[in-house]
Symmetry: C2
């Protein structure tokens, strides 16, 4: 934690007051410098991360004081940033919802489910890490697409939350003794789409339950944990049952949200529309206090959150 | 080995004289009853397998004595079969070539490479088990599609055969000390299509070398060996580096040749045309003597064959 003077914005810059920070498993790999798609983080750098903020002072004609914005502003209370990094929050959408559903989590959920998973009405969609930021959105989009949606989460509280609040048709507690039996019973015709946020043994079990022509969507989120941090090309363990793809003609496909970068405007337009009609609800798990940022990041690796983990740093006014 | 009287064909039946038997790794899984797509084989049954034969006596108006046919006639010298199981050998194509290139091996190579792998001119195509029945055909079709084709095989003789005879651009000996280094050196921009006939450690290494948007084609052939025979849903080991699909947006897709059943007429027409122009050559490894069938089947699991393993049972005339 370091203090530094607030910098007045130059031309094309914005001085912001941070309202919310968001947290995602990818941040761990950024610190470990095992993410091949971004520059390394060094000791002393501002911790990278996305935030929602309000414009305090603007050096750019596109923004005025009071405007709500999101962007990769890092863990700072009053960042001065290039205006090109800021995206305006659409009218009628709360700043925290924009940070989650219109941000990386929502784009990941949409791109992974729609572009990679290609859901069809009536498909059985199974989601691991269903109570996490991405999982909670995937389940809702799959319902909009007319699918039957089954979530996997840890513990009865999260499972109840998935079916009662988020709108999953069914939820399975992977810590329960009857996990395998329930997975089998709830997918009598197999799984058409498995959206995997977790990897490991849950992936093995899901691979054993694929329907013909199934799509297995490997989300680059929590599964990163399966990597050997010293050499990202060396994974600790592979999915034992992957060979069932031969008998089912199934596809295992990985993605990073940046794969869909050129479709972001369309994806955000669709997500915004669903937020406005209430078909899609932003579920946030909000802690408070800027000093709690490191502990909050650690918490998502312990499965502490239900929905998108955020930290409220300040009020807009 | 059992002797039984030759049965005269009834209406709609054919009495055949077997000329060639073909052998494939799938036959092991049929005996172990771990192949979910076909009925089990029992002790005392005729060993199933495809054969090329000549019609001796015909009870069907579509066939006459002397016609060459292929089909799933099993390990028999003079089978009597329903005419519906027999497929005529196209004019100008040798019976053994029809059994290999127009049979399961050729359809598997074509369907896996073209339908699943979707090759584009200029792609780098890597093939494991390249000197096997399927691999030798995959390499040739990939060349026809304008790809750069690299084969993996065991030992310098097979590697030389791949580049000198089959037409692979490069071949890598997986038993050589410099295997990993050569794989890396020959694929400086990564692998666009990995056609996997083997699984195991070669799959791990190939997954570490994928190009963006790569397609990994898991052929249901030799990789079956990776299965636990007592429970096909339990695999012995998964591909450790599968998680690279996230960073490359790659696809791992499995298939069985029967997935393309409705396209067989078109596939056979194309393969026949290529055989006739000489763009595609049938490479056969032919042993002799009906009594050697069991030993010949065992041989393909020891990598004894170069190209399609066959057994010559009799002359046509």
């Amino acid at each position: 934690m370091a203090e530094a003077p607030v910098t007045a914005p130059g031309p094309g810059q914005l001085l912001l007051k941070t309202l919310y920070l968001e947290f995602s498993p990818a941040q761990k790999s950024w610190m470990e410098n095992v993410a091949p798609y971004r520059a390394p983080v060094s000791i002393g750098d501002v911790m990278p991360g996305n935030a929602a903020a309000v414009v305090v002072e603007s050096g750019d004609s596109g923004f005025a004081p009071g405007d709500l914005v999101t962007g990769p502003f890092g863990w700072q209370e009053f960042p001065t940033v290039p205006a090109s990094e800021a995206v305006g929050v659409p009218d009628g959408v709360p700043a925290a919802s924009a940070l989650s559903v219109l941000g990386v989590s929502g784009k990941t959920a949409y791109g992974g489910l729609i572009n990679v998973g290609k859901p069809r009405a009536g498909d059985t969609v199974l989601v691991s890490g269903a109570a996490g930021a991405v999982g909670a959105i995937v389940g809702q989009i799959a319902k909009i697409a007319g699918c039957r949606v089954i979530g996997i989460a840890g513990g009865p509280d999260k499972c109840l939350w998935l079916t009662e609040t988020v709108g999953y048709d069914e939820a399975i507690d992977y810590r329960a003794d009857d996990f395998k039996a329930r997975l089998k019973a709830l997918c009598p015709n197999g799984v058409d789409i498995f959206f995997d946020n977790v990897g490991g043994e849950i992936l093995n079990l899901a691979l054993a339950r694929l329907a013909r022509g199934a799509r297995v969507v490997i989300c680059g989120g929590v599964a990163r944990l399966n990597m050997d941090a010293r050499d990202p090309s060396k994974m600790i363990e592979g999915p034992r049952n992957y060979f069932n793809v031969v008998f089912t003609g199934a596809t295992i496909q990985g993605f990073l949200v940046y794969d869909f970068q050129d479709q972001f405007p369309d994806i955000v337009r669709q997500l915004t529309a669903w937020l406005r009609t209430g078909q899609l609800v932003s579920h946030e798990d909000i802690r408070t206090g800027f000093e709690n940022a490191p502990a909050t990041l650690r918490g998502i690796f312990e499965g502490a959150n239900q929905g998108k983990q955020m930290l409220k740093v300040a009020e807009a006014n």
